[in-house]
Amino acid sequence: MKEIFIGLLAIASISAALALIIELAGAYIANYGEKHILVNNKKDLVVEGGNPLLFSLMSKNIFIPSACGGKGTCTYCKVKIHEGAGPVLPTETPYLDKDEMKDNIRLSCQVKVKEDMKIEIPEDLFLIREFRSVVEKTEDLTPTNKGITLRITSPEDGILFKPGQYVQLQVPPFKLSKTSEFRAYSIASNADDTTHVQLVITKVENGIVSTYVHDYLKEGDEVTIRGPFGDFFLRDSQRDILFIATGSGLAPVMSMLYQIEGEEIKRKTTLFFGDRKPHDLYFQDQLIYWQKSIVNFTFIPTLSRAVEEDSWNGEKGRVTTLIHKHIPDNTPLDVYICGAPPMVESCAKVLRQKGIPASNVFYDKFE
């Protein structure tokens, strides 16, 4: 009896002693205390040290662009850190070129705030806000794309964005993820309606956020979004406009077309939309309506997997085929491409061959 008692006591005390050591180490070694982040030489933020800069700034309502949710894969979160960043980490080196390293550009999701920092970010990032919203409508647009319409409940004035920009959609922890995650989704709706945003979300096999949206998100749920982000929006010029989109890449183009309709822009505008089968086409009614209502607008869908039974009379093949077919060499054009990265790259290549300068080609890759 006595042995058992001594045994238990000894084991318990050794474990307790070790736990105490870890706790003390946590309190003294891993506790970085409060750190100051001086932003653009004017805003002084006090944050708890030890966390990635991206999330420390987020806790102070400064939202750095990020599409991957801080996993270190999208490279959108680059900021200039003048002081306090420490050496460049192995997780950053693949994404930073020599000039960027010389300029103290770093990935804010990888750099932890361990010392006081001085950073520089573009002024317009101060305008990015966090919004609470309610899912007003969900609809199955195609077998793989879901449309969700969010009504912004606070701040009440809603979101001011440029058509083409994206928001971060945050979803709670669930079966696929122990942490709350966010990803980038482009706004498909009309920018004039500041209290609603519509997103089109493609189901990605085992993808965290897209699976949540497809399988768990219901009408009436509350979700948080942040934005607006991104530089994919219409540029002022006299050139004709060509939109090229596949899959959910149509979303930002829809928003831009609302703008073209609303502002009565007369530039000759063409949309190439590509997918596989007739059931992959969506927003058709609106696009066909715009063919009549927008003065100079043409919509050309193309399907790469249409077969006899589909009785499809439209274009067949990929969007790159459409460029070859419909765009003469050296046409003065502004091109906006949006969708999966391989499609964007192959279109950009064909356009280069066609003599369209890279400075007139704008794109968003949905990575």
Binding site: S15, L18, I22, K114
Partner: protein, 197 residues
């Protein structure tokens, strides 16, 4: 107590009694992390450090605390918690004070907590009645042996990836186990040279 001096024990633990290639301990991280030689070496260095220190710590705790209280049978559980706690504290310290080192070792440290070679080294030193000094030599040697084994196999795997074509079923763990078997044959050839217990 064995009459073998510390330097001999150190070399014996590397070559004649390699903990990985003759005792087959620490195989999981060895198979998982040996895809490329740099991470293999990083993990190996971390193992040397942790093995040496935990052998010493466990030696002290075993002979100063467990033996006087007649609690030797608790060695397993105690060694495991000591290793886990040690690794945690070391990780925090390195993260804070040696950022450059943390870049090399940091991501590997948590992996080591569950590396059975570490526990193995501590248990062997008890079974074989090593002194504190011998234990440290043995720990450092075993760690170095482990590093040697994982970098060898890492280099071979890198080479295979660059030059050879493997049947689908042999890729990854399959071929690694076969290479390990061959390496192990080579190492067991040394095994009669020095008796370490």
């Amino acid at each position: 107590m064995t009459q073998i001096d510390m330097p001999t024990l150190f070399f014996a633990a590397i070559f004649t009694n390699n903990i990985l290639l003759t005792n087959f301990l620490g195989l999981c991280p060895y198979i998982a992390i040996s895809k490329n030689i740099n991470s293999a070496a990083g993990l190996g260095v971390a193992v040397i450090f942790v093995m040496t220190c935990t052998a010493a710590l466990n030696h002290l705790i075993y002979y100063q605390v467990l033996v006087p209280l007649h609690l030797e049978h608790f060695q397993f559980i105690i060694f495991i918690v000591v290793i886990a706690a040690f690794v945690q504290v070391v990780e925090m310290t390195i993260d804070r004070y040696f950022p450059a080192l943390y870049q090399v070792l940091g991501i590997f440290l948590p992996l080591i907590t569950v590396n059975c070679a570490i526990l193995g080294a501590s248990l062997f030193m008890i079974i074989r009645d090593y002194t504190l000094l011998q234990s440290m030599g043995y720990g450092a040697g075993s760690g170095t042996g482990w590093l040697l084994a994982i970098t060898l196999v890492g280099a071979i795997r890198e080479k295979i990836q660059k030059t050879g074509k493997l049947p689908k079923g042999l890729e990854g763990p399959g071929i690694t186990l076969i290479i390990t078997g061959l390496l192990s044959l080579a190492f067991t050839a040394f095994s009669g040279l020095i008796k370490i217990q």
